[in-house]
């Protein structure tokens, strides 16, 4: 006969055993909450307002991506008490919880893109389309919006990228955050960089982020001697910087397009060898892609024979570079890069010729 006491002890043992097994069982990773449906729910604004929250850090890369002339504003937020690991100045490591926003406007805000690093270290991307009354923005479909009517945008149309489009650029670099790096936030800003700066706004840079204690393991020499592309002329510096900011996130030596052997990324620790390495993949190098009779990436002294410039100039979808994110070519950059190819590179070549 089993006594009541034995039965109670058995039940107690089973309960304790169950609790132990439950505690020991591996926990499935908690799924992140779904993307907020409204921009106002992403934490960008101060509570109860449509003003940018005071804890958001406004910044602007010195070599910004061309976006058909859109006026852009950008903000970074780090969870309290966390820092960016800046040990690798070309690939900063952002803590889980990091959020970034980038607003695109034509006369008024049209779209705000959002990047968030989740607890498991993965990243997610979203786009929010502003309401006509400018009070809030709503989550765009994952497939994007191919043609949104925006009166002041070129041609009156604007494209919201798909999530795949986001990854096309953001998944090709060393880290998915583009534009927040030692070189892009260098206080030694390039005065010839096209479309740089956001006038009238206080912007963070390498020095202010460091002073705020938001960077750890930053090599100290980058503060005493801020990053600056080591180029032969100011125009060459700006041209290489433009290519870094607009092309280098895909065309680099370590990403998925490395097999193309076209490296337009500039390191924070600049050196003549680094710029020479870029030129070695550009000047006189045959391209896999041909455009009628033009098949060399860059011909020193001949901008008209340089495929790089032809593809920057084109907005044919089969030809244009960058291949997405722009429907109108960048006239200012074409002039800059054209002059660099025609004048600066030919001068370099002329200096090298006698020694050959």
């Amino acid at each position: 006969m089993t006594s009541v006491r034995d039965t109670c002890l058995l039940i107690l043992r089973l309960v304790v055993l169950g609790a132990v097994l439950w505690a020991a069982a591996p926990r499935a990773a908690e799924a992140p909450p779904p993307l907020p449906q409204k921009l106002s729910e992403t934490g960008l604004f101060a509570r109860g307002t449509r003003e940018i929250g005071p804890d958001k850090l406004a910044y602007a890369p010195q070599y910004p991506l061309w976006s058909d002339g859109a006026v852009k504003r950008r903000w970074l937020w780090l969870p309290p008490g966390t820092r960016i690991d800046a040990a690798n100045p070309d690939a900063w490591q952002f803590p889980p919880g990091t959020r970034l926003w980038k607003e695109f406007g034509f006369g008024k805000p049209v779209e705000t893109r959002y990047i968030e690093r989740l607890a498991d270290g993965s990243w997610r991307f979203a786009a929010y389309v502003w309401d006509a009354d400018g009070r809030d923005a709503r989550l765009a479909p994952a497939a994007g919006i191919a043609s949104l009517p925006v009166r002041q945008a070129p041609g009156g149309r604007y494209t919201i990228p798909s999530r795949d489009d986001c990854l096309a650029c953001h998944d090709a670099g060393a880290v998915p955050v583009l534009g927040v790096s030692a070189l892009q936030l260098s206080p030694d800003r390039d005065p010839l960089a096209p479309h740089a700066g956001a006038p009238g706004e206080k912007l963070e840079d390498l020095a202010t982020l460091s002073a705020r204690g938001l960077l750890e393991h930053l090599p100290p020499e980058l503060l005493s001697e801020p990053p600056r592309i080591a180029a032969a002329t100011p125009r060459a510096r700006a041209a290489l910087g433009y290519l870094h900011g607009n092309c280098g996130h895909c065309h680099n030596a370590g990403g998925p397009l490395a097999a193309l052997e076209l490296d337009l990324e500039q390191p924070a620790r600049a050196s003549p060898a680094a710029t020479a390495a870029t030129l070695a993949t550009l000047v006189g190098v045959a391209s896999e892609f041909r455009l009628e009779d033009v098949g060399t990436r860059v011909v020193a002294g001949a901008d008209g024979e340089s495929l790089l410039l032809a593809r920057m100039r084109s907005r044919d979808p089969l030809v244009q570079m960058p291949p997405l994110g722009t429907a109108v070519s960048d006239r200012e950059a074409i002039a800059l890069v054209g002059h660099w190819i025609r004048d600066d590179l030919s001068a370099v070549q002329a200096r090298q010729e006698p020694s050959r």
Binding site: W66, D68, G69, P154, D164, A168, C169, A172, C250, P256, L257, A259, L260, F289, R290, L291, R313, S314, R315, D316, P317, L318, V319, P323, L324, A327, V328, S329, D330, R331, E332, I334
Partner: protein
């Protein structure tokens, strides 16, 4: 007569056995753990050769030129401008079935062999998977053009794509520089901004 009958009997038996064996072999390729064999099966049944292996004229009409297996549009076959489409005709194709003209311009089928300079020899599995998944060259470049059935193939599993890539990397390399696609005649060459 008496001497030939056994021979005919043996030949018929051999053919019957071959006919029976062929589906079994295909079935084996479909379920094998060997990614190259599985990839060969997938490439075969997905019709990759239809466009990526040039057709040549044989005794019974056009047939794949397997000496140029999966090497894409022949570099020595220069295509003149395509005839203007006349509704309801919308597309035109080269005799090799490797060049197609339509509203998207002119597309040339790619060299899928592992030749390092003209084929997929330098590609990584990631390049291949991202190309098929996104419909963009190398996952981030220009769009992959019709008639490549990206809308269907993008649904292949990761394992299937890896098997296809493994097989493509195992076949003989063919040096053949496929031309770049041509834009439609009406495409604007340049749109300049500020």
């Amino acid at each position: 007569m008496t001497t030939t009958l056994p021979l005919v009997r043996h030949l018929c038996a051999a053919l019957a056995l071959a006919a029976l064996a062929a589906p079994a072999l295909a079935q084996e390729d479909a379920t094998t753990d060997d990614p190259v064999a599985r990839g060969k099966y997938l490439v075969t049944i997905a019709g990759c050769n239809d466009c990526h292996t040039p057709l040549k004229m044989g005794a019974n009409g056009p047939e794949p030129d397997m000496s140029r297996m999966l090497s894409g549009h022949p570099q020595d076959l220069e295509m003149p401008p395509a005839p203007a489409p006349q509704d309801p005709w919308a597309f035109a194709a080269a005799v090799t079935n490797t060049a197609w003209a339509g509203p998207w311009g002119v597309s040339f089928t790619a060299n899928l062999t592992p030749d390092r300079e003209t084929g997929l020899g330098k590609w990584t599995l990631r390049n291949f998977v991202e190309t098929i998944r996104t419909g963009r060259h190398l996952g981030r470049g220009r769009a992959i053009l019709p008639p490549m059935p990206i809308p269907m193939y993008k649904h292949m599993t990761d394992d299937d794509l890896a098997a296809v890539f493994a097989y493509l990397q195992s076949i003989p390399p063919v040096r053949n520089k496929v031309p770049s696609p041509r834009p439609p005649a009406t495409a604007s060459a340049s749109t300049e901004g500020q």
